[in-house]
Amino acid sequence: MAEHTRRTVLKSAAVTAGGAALAARAPAAAGAAAVSIQPAQTAEITLSVNGRRRAVSVETRVTLLDALRERLGLTGTKKGCDRGECGACTVLVDGERVKSCLTLAVMRQGSEITTVEGLADGDRLHPVQEAFIRHDAFQCGGCTPGQIMSAVACIEEGHTGSDEEIRQWMSGNLCRCACYQNIVAAVADAAGEVRR
């Protein structure tokens, strides 16, 4: 998929504003102009995912989750409930954990999105990924990408002071296989490693 630079985004927005009826929202820094997309039209937007800018065609009603999974082929992020009630779709947006089923793709232009596919450094797994394997912190794997993204943020937020704190701050991610004790152990372990 073509990588759009910011300039090409702005240029295409300008072109469509004068011609076809749709326009993309410019990155936050770009200024005060309101951007508008009409109903049932497909907007060409740009999402920055795992350090790459990716062009994607979406209707306004496409969630960030469906943009990742169905348009960008990033199926590591899972759809468990599509209602923000399970946490399987957790990704990082500008470093904060969010539920990607509860936000629209058009609302996330100009943000930096990190999915489970973007954690490892080449062949080297992220410490949280390593810890999840080491502590057997998953079974079926259906919730695992969301757990891992949530865990990365949980550590970053500093909510790993005790097992009890981890239990509370990892409770936005359901694990129906219920590996919860192992998840707590993995997060605690990885927190030590990340800090090192």
Partner: protein, 324 residues
Amino acid sequence: MKPFGYTAVRDTGEAVRLASRTPDAAFVAGGTDLLNLMKDGVARPGHLIDVNGLDLAEVTETPAGLRIGGLARMRAVAGHAAVRRGWPVLAEALLASASPQVRNMASIGGNLLQRTRCGYFRDTGSPCNKRVPGSGCPAVEGWNRGHAVLGGSDACIATHPSDLAVALLALDAVVRVRGTAGERKVPIGDFYLRPGATPHVENVLRPAELITAVEVPRSATARRSRYLKLRDRATFEFAVVSVAAAVDLRGRRVRDVRLAFGGIGTTPWRSPEAEAALRGNDLTAESVARAGRALVRDAEPRHDNEFKVELVQRALAELLEELR
């Protein structure tokens, strides 16, 4: 979801002007409730106005108290040092809400405007007076464990799910809203409306009005305030029953007190009667029991929620014991 238009705005005036001239427009900030309502077909706006670009996210401590921007995120407010120091009930209520992810996303304004979790309301296959006025209320005769024992009508007994609103009610907060005619202030106690015969009208917001801020006065009661939320699992659930209590104690004597409750009323529920039972008296098991009885005097429990009448009194006693 119905297809909808989308505009990201940069200016509050522009936001309300656009909302006023666009039919079926809705503001979106966090989107954590609105998107679910849209997916379920409960809300079908024709246009979303994305207000996230507005400069309304600040939390500031002023001599008068606290000013929380309507777009401040739940996480930011809950973690704010001044909030934790001067208005602990607010931080506790926010931290007891939703999940860490949702608290990163959801705005304060949106939190106050979230819709009930009544299962009939959220199911377009069921009748619901709140969703389709005049279609009936299956909850009155059906499953109503989660429903209100106070403030209901034959048309609706759904509760309001916001923990934040309960805390703000105990803090005498004021909601600032902006519409095309300018800004106005609404005390939180006047903000929500009981269902009566019009359960689809939930608050006093006029079309195109946007919550720009919530102001919370500084007070002795606010400094000594706490939130207790009871539910059927440890966390990540709406309240079965909740209590926000703020007291100013001199020794055991209650100089002043604010009590608000979630899960028992059709709106976030303030009980002047319960407060009166305590104000000026010693905080004792007897006075607390009197307050509890005063709270539930007019309760109208249904088939599945009778326990709330007892549970909320116990929750009140528990919380006041912790505050003593």
